[in-house]
């Protein structure tokens, strides 16, 4: 099996992360924004795994494991919040969630 340079994975992860950022800034639908966060997390995970491979150590994978766990917890709470939001204020558009605005 010919080896793939780790930096390729890193570039890919960087690109995905950037796209996640863009999504975070562009999207208006609250759930989609949530998803873009997940996308960024995934990009980070990829970087973790790549580095773990490069260093021949497993720590990176353990961290990925933890990231996934955190993401799960985050999704649980976050979506609960989203449900509350949808029930209380009929819009799912973050531009309308502006009670904090002066």
């Amino acid at each position: 099996m010919t080896a793939i340079p780790i930096s390729w994975y890193l570039v890919l992860s960087a690109v995905l992360f950037g796209l996640g950022v863009v999504a975070f800034v562009f999207k208006r639908h609250i759930i989609t924004i949530f998803m873009s966060i997940e996308l960024m997390l995934n990009a980070v995970n990829l970087a973790f795994v790549a580095f773990a491979r490069a260093r021949g150590a497993l720590d990176g994978l353990v961290f990925v494991f933890f990231v996934i766990v955190v993401a799960a917890a985050e999704a649980a709470v976050g979506l609960a919040i989203v449900i509350m939001l949808a029930q209380n204020r009929q819009s799912m558009n973050v531009e309308r969630e502006n009670l904090l605005k002066l």
Partner: protein, 656 residues
């Protein structure tokens, strides 16, 4: 030896009583409050007595007996003179006298108060304060160093403030309390500086360590120190020019006036001067100042006393003048006589106040002598006791006051530091004293009643008030007989007892004894009895009798003829007004227009409000970032990420 080693018990008992009454007294019955208050003081007295008994068993080498309990303050251990203050108590002859006077008179007055205050609100509060005062006073007289002494010094000041303002709902009372506190502060400032100078000079504040090294200190320094300390005495003992608080202090309950403002606290200044006598005796200038201030005060306040009509005010001014005598004694180096007079004064002046209180009690709160008269028959015990006290203060031979005052004047006349002017002032003061005291007696007890007999029904005070009167009357007679043998050329036992304390200063006794050697007992007795003080005392009595019994119309005539002088005296030389004009108003003006309106409102508030305004303004600007738009927050987060990454890779050079 138990109580000598545990002197603190004497102090602790009143404190305990004060704490109990203060914390739980509200719920106690009056009898219980009495038990606690009087009981604690009585026990304290007994303990003191026991301590004194043990004291007499000590050999001279052990005196003064100092007991240090714990190190209270310790600073600069590394330096040559570490600032070390132990909570240490000491007992020597001087302390013995003060202890006995304070505890005994204090006990009597406590008993008296149970009757006098019976119908007052805040009963437990009163006794809480009174016990607390006892604690601080005892701390003052037993303290083995200046700092502990100062604690007592300030503590009694606090208690006097609390007790003068006991009827704090009455504005005059509250103001009087404040006045007393503030005026004495002025003196205390000097006292504090004096203490600091003592430490700076001697490297210690403990008496036992100070006195041995006074010889090595230059006179100017000692003079400065003494004058500073004396400032404190002036404030505390109400001498010119800081006496003004004492007359107002009569706003407080009469027992308070008796205990604090006659018998004990106000004499603290005298005690302090006597205690520091090794320093004073090496600072002649300071001594002279002390003497002059004392003498002038003695005469000056006596003149004011002449025309006062408020019975307590008269006594107040008389107290001031008597204190003047004590300082006069110190000034002429007759410390023993000063302390002697302090003790006798404690007896008869306390008695006078208590009797006056009894009168007021009988008159249902009336204090103006012009509305009294002819009480002799109605309240005989009060009358007789008060008469005895008057005779004592007037210096009629045989009574306590005679011995002490005579000793003072004699020292001023023929002592080593004798000074004719001081002596003259003293004698004049004596004349006035006897006059206004008998004026008081005659106005109060003789002549036709000048009050509505139907409204006021006069009644003798209860036992618990009269008994202390009697006891004090007894003391006012025999309390001075320690010195009696002197009359017939013997020795003054009191003086000899105190001699060790004042050993360092010039022994006053020698000259007296020396003169006594030459004369036969009968001669010396004659010499003593025809002395000036006795003469002026009797003269004053006669004049008073003539004015107020024989020809009661004369005083008014005189008042009209010498109207200006009369008004001057009546208004106490306008001193309060002068102070108001010279100090208080300018101070107020500066405080209001400069410190308040300019400094406080302008600078300080300006800074504070400016900060607040700045915060609010900047906040309202920065707040615009907080747009409530989630994505804008996201943008900021990203900005942070970019910045951090740049920092990491670029600046911190993690990359390379």
């Amino acid at each position: 030896m138990f109580l000598l080693t545990h002197l603190w018990i004497i102090l602790a008992l009143p404190l305990l009583g004060s704490a109990i009454n203060g914390l739980f007294g509200k719920t106690f019955s009056k009898s219980l409050v009495n038990t606690v208050a009087v009981g604690s003081v009585a026990l304290s007295f007994l303990a003191a007595a026991e301590a004194v008994r043990e004291f007499f068993q000590l050999v001279p080498a052990q005196i003064p007996f100092v007991k240090s309990y714990f190190t209270w303050m310790l600073g600069g251990e590394a330096t040559a003179h570490p600032f070390r203050v132990d909570f240490a108590l000491q007992i020597d002859q001087l302390t013995v006298v003060m202890l006995m006077v304070v505890t005994f008179v204090g006990m009597l007055i406590h008993i008296y108060s149970t009757g006098y205050m019976a119908h007052e609100d805040g009963y437990y509060r009163f006794f809480c304060y009174l016990n607390l005062f006892m604690f601080f006073m005892l701390t003052l007289v037993t303290g083995a160093n200046l700092i502990v002494m100062f604690v007592g010094w300030e503590g009694v000041g606090l208690c006097s403030y609390l007790l003068i303002g006991f009827y704090f709902l009455k504005k005059s009372a509250a103001d009087a309390g404040k006045k007393a506190f503030i005026v004495t502060r002025i003196g205390d400032f000097g006292f504090t500086v004096g203490i600091l100078m003592v430490f700076a000079t001697f490297g210690t504040v403990t008496f036992g360590e100070i006195f041995p090294q006074v010889g090595s200190i230059s006179t100017p320094v000692l003079t400065t120190i003494c004058l500073l300390l004396f400032t404190g005495a002036i404030g505390k003992s109400a001498q010119l020019p800081l006496y003004v608080w004492l007359p107002d202090a009569m706003e407080g309950p009469t027992p308070v006036s008796a205990l604090i403002h006659a018998a004990t606290m106000v004499t603290a200044g005298v005690y302090m001067v006597a205690r520091m006598n090794p320093l004073f005796s090496r600072a002649p200038v300071a001594m002279l100042v002390v003497g002059i201030v004392g003498a002038i005060t003695a005469f000056y306040s006596a003149t004011i006393g002449l025309v006062q009509t408020d019975i307590k005010k008269v006594l107040a001014y008389s107290t001031v003048s008597q204190l003047g005598y004590m300082f006069l004694a110190c000034g002429v180096g007759a410390y023993a006589s000063g302390i002697f007079h302090l003790m006798t004064h404690a007896f008869f002046k306390g008695l006078l106040f208590l009797a006056a209180g009894s009168v007021i009690h009988a008159m249902g709160g009336e204090q103006d002598m012009m509305r009294m008269g002819g009480l002799r028959k109605k309240i005989p015990i009060t009358y007789w006791t008060m008469l005895i006290a008057t005779l004592a203060i007037a210096g009629i031979p045989g009574f306590a006051g005679y011995f002490s005052k005579d000793a003072i004047l004699e020292a001023a006349q023929s002592g080593p530091h004798a000074n004719l002017i001081l002596w003259l002032l003293g004698v004049a003061g004596a004349l006035l004293t006897s006059f206004y005291m008998f004026r008081l007696v005659f106005l109060t007890f003789f002549g036709a009643p000048r009050y509505d007999e139907h409204k006021v029904h006069v009644h003798e005070s209860p036992k618990n008030m009269t008994v202390p009167l009697v006891i004090l009357a007894f003391l006012s007679i025999f309390g001075g007989w320690f010195a009696a043998p002197k009359l017939i050329g013997g020795t003054d036992y009191f003086e000899r007892f105190l001699a060790p304390v004042f050993a360092s200063s010039a022994p006053v006794a020698d000259t007296a004894a020396g003169s006594a050697e030459a004369l036969t007992p009968a001669m010396s007795l004659m010499h003593a009895l025809v002395s000036w003080p006795v003469a002026v005392g009797i003269l004053g009595l006669l004049v008073a009798w003539y004015f107020y019994i024989k020809r009661p119309d004369i005083p008014k005539k005189m008042a009209q003829s010498a109207h200006a002088l009369y008004q001057l005296l009546l208004n106490k030389y306008y001193v309060d007004e002068i102070y108001a004009a010279l100090i208080v108003r300018p101070l107020l003006w500066i405080s209001t227009n400069v410190l308040w309106h300019v400094v406080d409102e302008g600078a300080i508030d300006g800074v504070v409000n400016g900060t607040a305004t700045f915060a609010r303004g900047s906040g309202s600007e920065v707040r615009k970032i907080q747009s409530g738009n989630t994505r804008s927050y996201a943008a900021w987060v990203i900005l942070g990420a970019v910045g951090f990454t740049a920092l990491l890779f670029g600046l911190l050079g993690v990359a390379h």
